[in-house]
Symmetry: C2
Amino acid sequence: MTITARSAGGSVDATPHESEQGDTELAARLRLAVNRLHRRLRQQAVGGLTPSQSSALASVAKLGSPTLGALAASEAVQPPSMTRVIAALEEMGYLTRIVDPTDRRVARVAITEQGRTVLDLNRSAKNSYLAERLLQLPVDERESLGALTVLLERLAALDEP
Amino acid sequence: MTITARSAGGSVDATPHESEQGDTELAARLRLAVNRLHRRLRQQAVGGLTPSQSSALASVAKLGSPTLGALAASEAVQPPSMTRVIAALEEMGYLTRIVDPTDRRVARVAITEQGRTVLDLNRSAKNSYLAERLLQLPVDERESLGALTVLLERLAALDEP
DNA sequence: TATTGTTATACTCTATAACTATA
DNA sequence: TATAGTTATAGAGTATAACAATA
């Protein structure tokens, strides 16, 4: 996939100020954009899961049967916060706890059949805020978002300072 | 500027499942990425401003002297939420209230000299979470982020359903 | 004694409902 | 009566500190 910066016939109207910036200004703009988009997204509960819950559930599916601590680190929250998220997902039947046979202090979790179903529904939600907006974008910009998403995922996944 | 989706020598290890998705899956992945990145970012208060405050301050600077209602709509929050953000920014001396001469119900706000200084400091914060991470990216990916940030800004700015 | 997770508590951000001031 | 904003109150998400269980 190959894209260009402003390929939609000039519909991306960056001002000179925006397009001729340094890395720190790019960081500031990206921060604002992420914050604002997050505010839009948080108003939509997708498939009965809050953003924190669907994010954690997706991480569990990806990691297999992580410990609570590993999951908290992966989601960049503190253990007490993850305790609550897990409790909610467990009560809904979307994940189960597994007692670690070698160390009974650790709490491992794994996704259930129901949990996987919900996750799939979540991934294919055609009526979500973002899905509807992506359809309003020109095809080439939509494709470029695929590349951007990979970068965002990596930025969010990088370790702490 | 031209980029490719995985230009970092294969360091972007998207699975086949991730790279061969439809728009709805892209939406789901983008949603998760934005949520996670937001969680990373919210832990860093930049220049003494919370994310909500710096976002609102930037909007005021962009809009000129908006009414509280217009600012709330621009930031996708309800008027009571904006009342609090404005009160905090006003107390810090970063914006002032202007009585609308034609309608004394409306509360207009404008950025102060101090506010503009803080905003500039914010934009050039070299030690922010994102700024440091952007420096870890290959140059071509960093450049692509500049173009794609514009897309995120537009997604966040689109009107409600 | 160190580590893993939980409970208790508090703070930030945001929302809805009810209210005030002005039109 | 309608509109712009504020105050009162509540809920979601997360944090730190103190605790319990296990190593």
